[in-house]
Amino acid sequence: MLQRIVIIGAGQAAAQAVATLRAEGYAGAIAMVGDEPYAPYQRPPLSKAYLMGTLERARLFLKPDSFYRESDCELILGVAVRAIDRKARSVLLSDGRTLPYSMLLLATGTRVRRIKCPGAVLAGIHYLRSIEDVDGLNAVFQKGKRLAVVGGGYIGLEVAAVAVKHGLDVTVFEAMDRVMARAVSKPVSDFFEQAHRAAGVKLLLNTGVDAFEGAGQLKSVKAGANHFPADIALVGIGVVPNVELAKEAGLACEDGIVVDQNCATADPAIFAAGDCTWHVGREGIPLRLESVQNAIDQAKHAAYAMAGKPKTYSEVPWFWSDQYDLKLQIAGLARADDQIVVRGDPTSRKFAAFHLRDGAVAAVEAVNAPSEYLVGRKLIAAGSHVAPEHLADLSVPMKSFA
């Protein structure tokens, strides 16, 4: 009988799945199909060191070519999977080939959400998800250019930080009343807002972009009654999970491909991992995560299950973002009604915001504060209760909570 695992997508989760499948003793064939022309690479540096120009392309790749040879993994790159035939257990490739599988791993990630407004197709409007995107942006990323960043989320703000360092004139347009509103608590948003302003970024809150203006080439950004001159726009307004293949094959999808805690779909031969999944979080609430941690840990769990050794996925989520000399490290899952306890003084550029829920530590957002982050991660994993007044007291060392 055919033994071949086909992995759809060649990103962070795909690379991890190959490593774990072999480490767990899976001996059948593996083929990885990716529509980008590259072997799996890291995306986080794309909006950081790679855009900055301090990290060359060769250093982006997650594994050397020899890894795929030694893991006996066939890499099929620059080719997309067009359809999954669950009855025949095969996938149809964009080059016309049909590839049979015994098990399938969907690691299709996400794609950027395109902005829908007049002028959205003008030249000069960029997005950031892939090497190709950065290379396109880099070609116009020059000192003195006016950059409009649409969306004050991680990616927009990371790009803004790199851009001001490069001498661009940067304006961030954020529709909400604070930056990174989806991801961090208000004290942390407020701190980053100040940090960007201090670095020379113009930051417009409560300001949605209504249109891009220009004849062919972007000339200005329209927000409300105002027109802001701009040479380049970088749109970072979120991502959409690549679920279409799964959906067309009749697999359940929400805002992601539905999987259980073993990363299994309802079809016993099909698994999914990474940014594309809608999974049950450790708190029992279904969600989709966009992070390296989730891609790695879900890929491991999918591989355990495919190798016949399933384990329950319940890792504490973690994430980071680098802006200027500020390292933001986040663990856990925040909720809007959490009690927020701030430890340390934001003006010292080193502090943390803890989220307490029913007295237990549920999440931590740490800025240049690795002990708060790491101890926080342990407290979250253990479901520990900590007195807010102790947590807020810098004279009580973090280690004493661990």
């Binding site: 890291q42 790749f61 050397p64 390296v292 680098d322 390292k327 002990s371 790491l374 342990k378």
Partner: protein, 106 residues
């Protein structure tokens, strides 16, 4: 190109060339050295790239920054010669350096 010697927990030695400017972590990952996970890819955010630096080489390294020092505090089986390999940049002066990888990164 500087050569770095990686010794795993079983004592197996691997000498690999690592371009100057790359980190000791990248040298390991790009040469399939076992025992280093490097989940965050060198962002000093995961502490899964812990190594033990041979004592003869320890003093040649620039001191740890705060971030590395604290991240290490929470790694497994930390010794006085523990470092996060993603925070060590390979230079020609480090040609021949010896590092040991730990039993586990978790």
């Amino acid at each position: 190109m500087p050569k770095i010697k990686y010794i795993d927990e079983k004592g197996t030695e691997r000498d690999v060339e690592v371009p100057a400017g790359w980190s000791v972590m990248e040298g390991a990952v790009k040469n399939l050295i076992p025992g280093i996970d490097a989940d965050c890819g060198g962002a000093c955010a995961c502490a899964t790239c812990h190594v033990y630096v041979d004592s003869a080489w320890l003093e040649k390294l620039p001191p740890k920054q705060d971030m590395e020092e604290t991240m290490l505090d929470f790694a497994q089986d930390v010794e006085s010669n523990s470092r996060l390999s993603c925070q060590i940049t390979v230079t020609t002066e480090l040609d021949g350096m010896v590092v040991r990888t730990p039993k586990t990164q978790h």
